[in-house]
Subunit: 147 residues, 2 copies
DNA sequence: ATAGTTAATGATACCAAGTCTCTTTAACGG
DNA sequence: CCGTTAAAGAGACTTGGTATCATTAACTAT
C-alpha cells in the first residue's frame, strides 16, 4: 500500500500547484520523501529512497522546491550540498558537525552588520551566504564519538 | 624564453619548500601562473594556461597552497569554486558580482556576533563560512553592463 | 660528483553530481 | 472526452575532481 501523505507533503504539493506546476505521481513521491526527512539530506539520499523515480525528475523537483522557497540549500563543512525544509525567507543555519542536526538562525543581526561593513568598504551589498558549524547542545555534553 | 618569476611566485614557492615540498618545474609553473592572476580564478582556468602541466598536478598544487594558507577558496554566488591569494589567517570576501573583483574583509565583528548568537542557541561554535556579494565601488557608478 | 631514496609527475581510469536531449506519457482546462 | 502541453524517464554527456601506478627527477648522504 502506498505510504500515506503527511499534511506537510500535502502542503508542499499545494505550494507547487499554486505556482502552476502539475501534481504528478513522481512529484508526489518526492514531496512525501522530503516530508519524511528528519534532517538535511542530499539529492542522492532521496534517489536511494525513490528508486522508481527518474534522476532528472528528482533534481527538477528539488530545483522547483528551492525556487518556491520551501527548501533551502545547506552547504556542509566538507563541501557537500544538502537540502532541508525552509522557513520561508532568508535565514541561516547552525549546523552540528557531530550529529548533523541544524537549527535555523532567524532575525540575527548579521544583515545589519554586513551593511555597516560593506558601506565602510564602499560596497553595495546584494546578498550573502553564511553557514555556521559547531556542536549542538546535546552533542556538547556527549563525549565525542570514537571514530 | 621562460617567463621570469615574479617575487610573489618566488615567495609562494619558498612557502612550499619551508613545508618540505620540493621545487619542481611543474610546481614552479603553477605558482608563476597563480602569481600572475589579477583576480580569483578556477582550477580549470589555470589548466588552460598551463597545457603542459598534468591535471592532477594542478589540483595537488592548489591543495598544498590552500593547506599552506597562501591560497583561499572563494565560493561564487552561482556555486563555482574559485581560488585567490590569501592574507594568511581567517577572513572573508566582498565579491563584486559585476566585475569579479574582491576585497578582503579582515577584522570584522562577525566572529563576536556569531559567538553571541551561538551561545544564545546553546551552540558551541567551531567554524563558519561567509561570502558577501554585491557591487564594488567602481561598478556602482558604472551603469550595468548590457548582456 | 654519484648513488640511493623517495617525492612528485602525468597518463589514464574512474567517480560524483548533476544537466541535456529526446521520445513518450499523462495532467489539466475547456 | 479531447487537445495541448507540462512532465517523466532513459540515457548520453559534462564538469570538476580523485585514485592508481609506472616513470622521473629532487634532494640527501656519502
Ligand atoms: Mn533553513
Ligand atoms: Mn581572501
Ligand atoms: Zn549535535
Ligand atoms: Zn566590480
Amino acid at each position: 500500500m502506498p505510504k500515506r501523505s503527511s499534511s506537510l507533503a500535502t502542503q508542499l504539493l499545494a505550494t507547487l500547484e499554486e505556482r502552476g506546476h502539475r501534481s504528478t505521481s513522481p512529484r508526489r513521491a518526492v514531496v512525501n520523501a522530503i516530508a519524511g526527512q528528519n534532517k538535511h539530506f542530499t539529492a542522492e539520499q532521496l534517489r536511494d529512497q525513490l528508486p522508481g523515480v527518474g534522476r532528472a525528475t528528482i533534481y527538477r523537483s528539488l530545483r522547483l522546491l528551492v525556487e518556491s522557497g520551501v527548501l533551502c540549500r545547506v552547504l556542509l563543512e566538507e563541501g557537500d550540498l544538502h537540502y532541508q525544509l525552509s522557513h520561508r525567507g532568508h535565514h541561516h543555519h547552525l549546523l552540528c558537525v557531530e550529529c548533523g542536526s541544524s537549527q535555523d538562525l532567524l532575525g540575527c543581526d548579521i544583515e545589519d552588520l554586513l551593511h555597516t561593513v560593506s558601506s565602510a568598504h564602499q560596497f553595495q551589498l546584494s546578498g550573502h551566504w553564511l553557514e555556521v558549524y559547531g556542536k549542538c547542545h546535546d552533542c556538547m555534553d556527549r563525549p565525542a564519538v570514537p571514530v
